[in-house]
Assembly symmetry: C2
Homo-oligomer: 689 residues x 2
């Protein structure tokens, strides 16, 4: 028995040995070629009924059980599958940043019993190897196995910046002109007579027109037409018509008996590469009824968009689509449970995400995004139906996808602009979203330029040995005593630390620089000190000793981590410079600098200037906004003004490509220094040092 | 083994004993609730593999085979099913005008062997009973049965007026402004560069705009977006985009690699209650490549729209929809075979039919059409997709449904107007379509009034003992020698006669009246004559003696047939009068009288005046047009002008309801006389008599 890959709440005995996945009976019988061709026609589906103690398809060669502790979840795989395959098949949230390449070392498991063959890896210490640690992606299954997921490998509840009551309160009242895509019209139709014998549909349209609905460009599907006669007669000519207003036409998507007020709920969804946030909103007044967030399950296919695209090319974009949908649908379930609302009432949705995330979620070919000249398939979308997208809400519900101007500047940035509103105002603004990419926008109400500076996932924990997202156990604030070189830190959730998140890394790098532990180049100045150690050949700073931690190991900050972080901050700063240069401007002309992204709640802007991530300008010009993508999605959910604005922003933005930009390469090289090679650009930092 | 009810080309062993139908494996596994709920979840589907000689579901109580001669088609049914049920399940074309009520007497079979229990019926003669004749609908199955379909019960190839080469030639050139709904745009897209990095979709839209396509209101489905990237790169940025222009927006329905010219074919379909006509048209120049026609298979559920609606209420509208679709799809197959074209190239379709036929075909609830105040569900349709409708052509193809102004004045009439064009011209025109209803339009380029006069199916053979459609074996022309009272007749296909069609009946009634065989009331004047006989209590005229016929029985014209015909012609004439009265007009003001309908090719207008079906006005004002519905459908298929005109006609028409109109009842009563009670209205006929 296993759980259906499309419906994790269903146990099933149908398993595909080729894909190592389970499908429930509904999926097996499903005629959707995207499900059944892939998982049924072309595959040997073995009918296994473990409860009956027999395999219906006869002897199954080399099929083994993997039990994952601590939850004792059991997954059956064929011989030779990796433990990571097993975890993905069982929907077990393992951290696997590098998409199974064996290069990140994050998918550690402890082999409790059974036979697994592991490739040799430098990413496990000798002590770890002695303790039966293996990398899930490098270990194949050759018997029944019991594996324990250690503390540091388990994914935890995310701490999403701006998810508190304060923010949902701030959301409420942000939009006053409430004009959702899908509107319910409660109607009382005139009873037909011989003198008024127009068709049911014309009667409905006439009544809608009288209610102020523009019916001149109205369409409807066959289902609505088929059910219309009984729907309007069921409660004596009282009906509720659900109408989706699209860009240039409208569609009646449902007509239901009775004309009492229908609750209308909406979802604003921010689809991050790392984490996904869902707001459940009462459309009538904008109240946020629930806010949930979780790790994007696609993370098992890699940390960054490039790895995700590679995975989609290899395994098909449908796999990634399913993973994304299953994350979102899980979050929707949580939100529905928490707010105790009816799923069918959710009939407006806005999706905001970077271009790759949107392609993957909608099952659109993403491969050309990662190849020069970096072309997305679709950047602007018609209003879609929730059922077609695969969202488990009212299937007739309207889905607006935030348009994105380029392959590496997506709808999440457009959403961010809507939330900040600087494109409506005069002051010159520099906007940066430090996610896995680092998208920059420069402009005001007259012009907008945008670029993506490939900052990499360091600030989100990627490529950093003990890096992690801003979730429970992440060190998010650090100071270092200049005398003892001992750190003081605070941890998300006030628990023993398990790693370090973006804001913590910025603090740490800044403090190591200011206390002289490292040089402006990032090299270590100090070597003979209890806090300084070696990890293999690499020098490292001990941020937390094993006994202080939840993982019973020293949490280290390595030379390679420092180099990664400097590369990331250098790319962002270089991006700022080049965009300004393009306009013949410099930092002094910037009136406002807005920074958003998944750093955690306590980004210390001063320290971000110290390491040269942000320019050394008047601190009052800085503004840190947390997740602006969800904010813009929320606004577009409620109001047509902002949906139109999104399309308008896209059309106004001029995209600058840095990948082939020599000036960017020069500026990047100059910025690979703490704070920068041009110290004149950082007078306040030079002073401190 | 049997044939799938949805896919007659597939043999299958899955049969539903409750519905007496077969379904193929695809349908059994189909998740469409309209198919599988009805035929799977709720039914005992017995898995029967006759080849293996066993019934997988165990003993099947009371299951019998019925073999229909002469084709020896075998159908398996449960005990107690009627032979008509078996014929419907086996898709065997029996004539069953009254929908199994046992009142029309047309579904005669000869029981060759086996046990059937027949209810007593006055509609079989003693000789027929002695010869083992039974009515299929009145006979239940209680053993394996072999039944022979006699000559007079078999449905034959229709003779559709205007299907010859002459008409298809006339069609060609009728429309010069060729603007189909779905247009193919062969495009060469600009290869993307870093400086021109808009998305694939925007690139496509830009190119379409340059080709003169209005892309400002363009939408597309997820499938198009999903396949776009590979489609445009497959043949080096050369693609063909298929765009459907709708009333107020457009939709890209397919993007395929390569930009060579795509053949585009269209179908004009006239869905008559009795017969269905399909024209296969080359969209590029309007050539009619093939014209096919056949009996509407719904005829097994009754001759007229009321019986069809009753059947839909009883068995579900889906059953009627399937029957209609299977007829059309069969005709499409014939047309494709005959023209040797690719099914996928058919991507424009126009459907023209009366309001009930369109409701049934599209699966839209029809029940309120037959109940006062006679409300159709839908009278005007958005452009549909062929795949959604169920037509076996390119599933992305566009389907335009001719709009109909009322429950009893449908799109076929609007189509007829388009073909005649009188609504564009000044002369006052009276238009009548004598099908099973008798729809009338009066008007010109300034105004249009319309009504339906419930003429009944007599002119199409319904309710007439030896009445039949204008198909092979139908007597279509009759003269009677005033001295001998012997008839001379001509038969469709120059074969021995099997019955009499509409034009033959009009001739016959007129001749019987002029030769004094009957009185103006319809009563027989003559009784002692070799041509006059009794059928039970009824007097009848012997139109053909048994030895002259193909059915080896006397072909009679009974007193009740005469009464039916007089009622029908009276209703039409009353309709004319009342519409004219409504406008304060009389027949002298009519400049033109256009008559269309399924009479057969040789409607004698003079004789139609003689019986009082048509008014006694100058004969040069008469025009007989055959099937005008298919003509209008053809024109709308080719040109947007006529599709817009159809909607315009609907909006312009004023519908007059006769069902509650006292004036109509008075006029109808006055018209129940040959030619009329008011002989002054028929001076030329009075003179003749």
């Amino acid at each position: 028995m296993g759980r259906c890959i499309n419906h994790p709440d269903r146990e099933t005995r149908f398993m595909c040995m080729k894909h190592n996945i389970y499908l429930c009976e509904e999926c097996i019988q499903c005629r959707d070629p995207e499900i059944y061709c892939k998982f049924r026609s072309s595959c040997p589906i073995w009918y296994m009924d473990k409860r009956a103690g027999k395999a219906a398809a006869g002897d199954l060669p080399g099929e083994f059980k993997v039990v994952f502790q601590p939850d004792n979840k059991e997954v059956t795989v064929t011989e030779g599958s990796t433990l990571l395959d097993a975890a993905i098949a069982g929907d077990i949230p393992l951290n696997a940043s590098c998409n199974g390449k064996g290069s990140c070392g994050k998918c550690k498991l402890v082999l409790v019993s059974g036979e697994g063959i592991s490739k040799n890896t430098p990413l496990l210490t000798d002590r770890e190897k002695a303790d039966h640690y293996v990398l899930a992606c490098q270990t194949t299954v050759h018997s029944d196995i019991v594996a324990r997921i250690p503390e540091e490998t388990l994914e935890r509840k995310l701490k999403i910046a701006g998810m508190g009551q304060a923010v949902t309160d701030r959301m409420k009242g942000l939009v006053t002109d409430i004009t959702p895509m899908l509107t319910h019209y409660p109607l009382t139709l005139a009873t037909p007579t011989l003198d008024d014998s127009i068709s049911d549909l014309d009667r409905l349209l006439r009544c809608l027109t009288r209610k102020g609905c523009d019916t001149s460009r109205m369409s409807m599907g066959l289902k609505v037409m088929r059910d219309l006669a009984s729907a309007i007669r069921h409660e004596d000519w009282k009906v509720n018509a659900a109408v989706i207003k699209k860009r240039s036409s409208s569609e009646i998507v449902a007509v239901t008996p009775g004309n009492s007020e229908m609750p209308s709920l909406g979802l604003a969804v921010d689809i991050g590469t790392t984490s996904i946030v869902v707001y459940l909103v009462d459309i009538s007044d904008g109240t946020v009824l629930a806010a949930t967030s979780g790790h994007n399950r696609q993370a098992a296919c890699g940390d960054d968009v490039i790895n995700r695209i590679v995975c989609a090319e290899k395994d098909g974009v449908k796999k990634l689509s399913r993973m994304g949908l299953s994350t979102i649908n899980g979050l929707i379930n949580e939100a529905i449970d928490s707010a105790a609302v009816d799923r069918k009432s959710i009939d407006n949705v806005v999706l905001s995400g970077n271009t790759t995330m949107i392609h993957l979620l909608l099952g659109i070919e993403p491969r050309y995004i990662r190849r020069e000249p970096y072309i997305p398939s679709v950047s602007s979308f018609p209003v879609l139906k929730a059922g077609n997208v695969g969202l488990k809400v009212n299937p007739a519900g309207a889905v607006f996808v935030m348009p994105g101007p380029a392959g590496y500047v997506g709808g999440d940035i457009v959403s961010g602009l809507i939330y900040t509103g600087f494109h409506r105002e005069e002051p010159l603004t520099l906007f940066i979203d430090v996610g896995t990419n680092g998208e920059i926008v420069l402009g005001n109400n007259e012009w907008l330029m945008t670029a993506s500076c490939s900052a990499g996932p360091a600030f989100e924990g990627g490529g950093i040995r003990w890096g992690m997202r801003a979730e429970e156990g992440a060190i998010e604030k650090v100071t270092i005593d200049p005398d003892t070189l001992a750190p003081t830190y605070s941890v998300v959730g006030d628990v023993a630390p398990r790693g370090i998140c973006g804001s913590g890394m910025i603090d740490l790098l800044s403090e190591m620089f200011l206390t002289g532990i490292i040089q402006p180049t990032g090299s270590f100045n100090v070597d003979d000190h209890p806090r300084i150690t070696k990890d293999g050949d690499e020098t490292a700073y001990i941020l937390a000793f094993a006994h202080e931690t939840a993982v019973d190991k020293d949490i280290l900050f390595l030379k390679s981590d420092i180099d990664n972080l400097i590369r990331s901050k250098g790319a962002v700063y270089a991006g700022f410079k080049v965009l300004l240069n393009q306009m013949g401007m410099d930092f002094s002309m910037v009136d406002r600098l807005i920074i958003t992204g998944g750093f955690g709640q306590y980004l210390d802007l001063e320290k971000a200037v110290t390491i040269g991530l942000l320019p050394d300008i008047e601190r009052s010009k800085f503004q840190y906004l947390g997740n602006s993508s969800i904010g813009g999605a929320y606004m577009a959910l409620l109001s047509e003004t902002y949906r139109k604005e999104a399309i308008d922003i896209c059309n106004r933005m001029t995209y600058v490509d840095f990948s082939s930009n020599n000036q960017f390469m020069d500026e990047f090289t100059s910025a690979m220094f703490l704070p920068h090679t041009d110290l004149n650009a950082f007078p306040s930092i030079t002073q401190k040092n």
